[in-house]
């Protein structure tokens, strides 16, 4: 049990630092979700299943989605095919890779962020 706790604490710390260090904003949102998931496992270990359920549903699930949608609303992250016709077989992997894809015109995501 001690080892599980240590591994999860390490995971939470690493993903929390990743939130600050990552250049990609969508990556930072995912890292904060991972940190919340680790914290919810810690809550189970300290026998607080109610709090763990809340943390998993709100912290790991909803807040990540809200942050991703917020980034999209601000124009810092695009889904593949936002501009032009949608390809019917756009896969999840392609959508996840979307922030890396160059935008047709205007500055890239990183440039925009530091502007």
């Amino acid at each position: 049990m001690v080892w599980i706790t240590l591994v999860i604490v390490l995971l939470v710390l690493v993903s929390s630092v990743a939130v600050l260090a990552l250049d990609s904003l969508i990556g930072a949102a995912v890292a904060s979700s991972v940190a919340s998931l680790g914290v919810s496992v810690l809550f189970v270990i300290v026998l607080a299943p109610d709090v763990a359920l809340t943390e998993a549903a709100v912290g790991a699930g909803l807040s990540g989605v809200v942050m991703a949608l917020g980034l999209r609303r601000l124009g810092l992250w695009r889904l593949e095919g936002d501009r032009g016709a949608a390809h019917p077989l756009t896969t999840t992997a392609e959508r996840l890779a979307a922030p890396k894809a160059p935008v047709e015109q205007g500055p890239t995501e990183g440039g925009n962020r530091h502007a």
């Binding site: 549903a57 810092l76 205007g106």
Partner: protein, 229 residues
Amino acid sequence: MRNIASLVFSVGLAFLLLVIAAQLGFGHTPMVVGTDILAGAAQDVGAANIVTAIVFGYRGFDTLGEISILFAAATAAGLVLGHRRAGAADDPRGGLILGAGAELLFPMLVLVGIYIVIHGHLTPGGGFQGGVVLAAAFFVAVIAEPSKRVNHAAIQVIEGLAGAAYIVIGIWALVEDGSFLKPMLDHGVMGQLLSAGTMPLLSSAVGIKVGSELAGLLAHISESEAGEP
């Protein structure tokens, strides 16, 4: 200047927390209300899950405040996000994997959400957690098929009725027994689904309210047009 200000703020906050931590005996709570509730909850409200007993029994009025705050937050977000132009392009469809996954996940998430809501007084969980799971179930369907429009009017009616049901149960207790949101009805046998009086009803009302509120909010954010880079 800004760095100095934030340094002063962090040092002050750390000092404050350290002082509080030094005053507390480790592992000993300074308040006795927790011990009292632990000792008497089973007789008072008849719920097997003491956390839910506190949320809907002892502190029902606080829960009403929480759902009001959530309502205000959702309303403010709806105002800020604004309306969608008529000709705006939809998001691309979710694709094969996300579509099939959404169809598979939707019934399971709905089932888990309903289970968490109606078993709030028996097992970990309750209205808030189950409501969030229900909202996630409907939002997964929206991601997979963004061209489908969510019926916001229906969601608002459901949300309003659920919120009103919570207050009506409270007022019923006020008329019947003299205190707002006092647990009513027979306690029944602890551990049965129909036990703990009005607690499952309150939990269901909160679950439906939170679920429809968050589902409507997420659908609203995802329907709003993507910003220009």
